[in-house]
């Protein structure tokens, strides 16, 4: 069971095909699989459908794949931070399917957990529910949403072992754990690669069964989108 690859490029080798669907973890630029996204850019694969909460910013994260015009469709909840996105969308080069953030998270979790569809109150009475079944339970209306599943999931974790067990750090967890479960092949970049047995088994966020390939990316560059600070005297925001 050899899961560790020596570089991001090698870790995705043999997995890619034009037109495939890729999930990419992260919220904003927090917890995104930067090294794996760069490897996707290098591969030149195109016509991609990307499932990701956001689309990066110009020059970082999925913004890289927009620059190289490798993405033809996005499934996201918010793509506000990216000029290139707007340009390509308005030029008709890029399709977008907006999902409410919680619905997106739940559709991915459902995909990994063998749930083909579920009902949620989110979006009832809005354009999100158009064309979807709406049904009453206990007198309230709910809309049916279906599962998402990808060919490949790209994950960023803080710590991983040789078994593929993963631990995330703070709000860099976000979409990564569900995406790790909802793809044919899951590739994880980890900031710390540790020996199997050194992570407390009660504190593993993603069990190794979900992770096929791991690559060690020490000290990844992490950008901050909105640097907000307080002065020492201030108590609150």
């Amino acid at each position: 069971m050899q899961k560790v690859y020596s570089s991001a490029v090698e870790s995705i080798a043999g997995l890619l095909a034009d037109g495939m669907t890729i999930m990419s973890g992260g919220f904003g630029l927090c917890g995104i699989p930067s090294a794996l996204i760069e490897a996707i850019q290098l591969s030149g694969v195109n016509g991609l459908t990307i499932i990701s909460n956001n689309a990066g910013v110009d020059g970082a994260g999925l913004g890289l794949l927009l620059e190289s015009r490798q993405i033809s469709r996005m499934v996201s909840s918010y793509v506000g931070e990216n000029k290139l996105f707007a340009q390509q969308y308005l030029a008709g080069e890029l399709q977008i399917e907006f999902n409410p953030q919680g619905t997106l998270a739940e559709r991915i979790r459902a995909g990994g957990a063998g749930i083909p569809a579920f009902f949620t109150k989110t979006g009832v009475g809005t354009s999100v529910a158009e064309g979807k079944e709406v049904r009453r339970f206990n007198g309230e209306e709910f809309v049916m949403e279906t599962a998402l599943f990808a060919d490949v999931a790209l994950i960023h974790a803080w710590k991983g072992d040789f078994e593929g067990n993963l631990v995330y750090r703070k709000t860099a967890r976000n979409f990564n754990p569900m995406m790790a479960t909802a793809a044919k092949t899951t590739v994880a970049e980890v900031e710390c690669l540790v020996s199997t047995g050194s992570i407390d088994p009660d504190q593993i966020h993603t069990p190794g069964i979900f992770v096929s390939r791991i690559v060690h990316v020490p000290d990844p560059e992490k950008r901050i989108e909105q640097r907000t600070v307080r002065r020492l005297a201030e108590e609150t925001v």
């Binding site: 919220f27 927090c30 909840s77 409410p100 109150k121 967890r173 909105q226 907000t228």
Partner: protein, 213 residues
């Protein structure tokens, strides 16, 4: 003599009860955290996967792995917990968050709320707004009474909805309206901002409302 942004935030903070779990939206709602009354213990939820959100970090202590739903750097507190987006919206959808305070473009007299897109303009997406308005137990809207002299309190929203019949209270710079979503009788005017005349509110409000000051 309308309320300032800070006064609106302070008024919204009065909706917070001791022990509440609260989600604050971007803009004026973010300021609400500064006006939580002393003695009131509140836990802030950030939908990207955090409960017990702390203030902005001190200079030099920013952590790129620690941001709020507005993508701003924040800090943690002793009671903080982190979890996935699926678990976070499970909390929201499952009705575990007591209060959501957020901004809006339009609110209708039946509680319909619009705050995510303007037809013809580039759409950025709804983010977590649809989940929050549908799932959180009580939704309080804080917004300007008008946008460029256009009323925002309407009989029916003209913009695409974020949620249907979801708003319970609207706090504007001019007044505070309650919405009894089940009655179908429109809004109830509860308060006027200091120095604002009832006449001005009547003029600038398209939603039908009863006065119960």
């Amino acid at each position: 003599m309308a309320w300032t942004r800070e006064q609106m935030a302070a008024r919204a903070a009065q909706e917070i009860r001791d022990g509440f779990y609260v989600n604050l939206g971007i803009g004026i709602p973010t300021l609400v955290a500064n006006y939580v009354p002393t003695g009131i213990d509140v836990r802030l939820h950030s939908e990207n996967g955090m409960l017990g959100m702390g203030p902005f970090p001190l200079e030099g202590e920013e952590d790129p792995d620690l941001i709020n739903a507005g993508k701003q750097t924040i800090s943690e507190l002793p009671e903080t917990s982190f979890f996935s987006s699926a678990d976070s919206f499970g909390m929201v959808r499952g009705g575990h968050i007591d209060l959501s305070i957020l901004g809006a473009m339009q609110v209708a007299e039946n509680g319909d709320l619009a705050n995510w897109m303007i037809p013809g303009k580039m759409v950025k997406g709804m983010g977590g707004a649809m989940d929050l308005v549908a799932g959180v137990r009580r939704v309080v809207v804080v917004m300007e009474h008008e946008a460029k002299s256009e009323p925002k309190l309407l009989k029916e929203c003209t913009l695409p909805l974020t949620g249907r019949g979801v708003a319970s209270l609207v706090i504007t710079d001019l007044a505070v309206f309650e919405i009894d979503k089940n009655s179908g009788r429109g809004m109830i005017l509860r308060e006027l901002a200091h120095g604002v005349a009832l006449e001005e509110v009547r003029e600038k409000t398209r939603a039908s409302f009863v006065e119960c000051l």
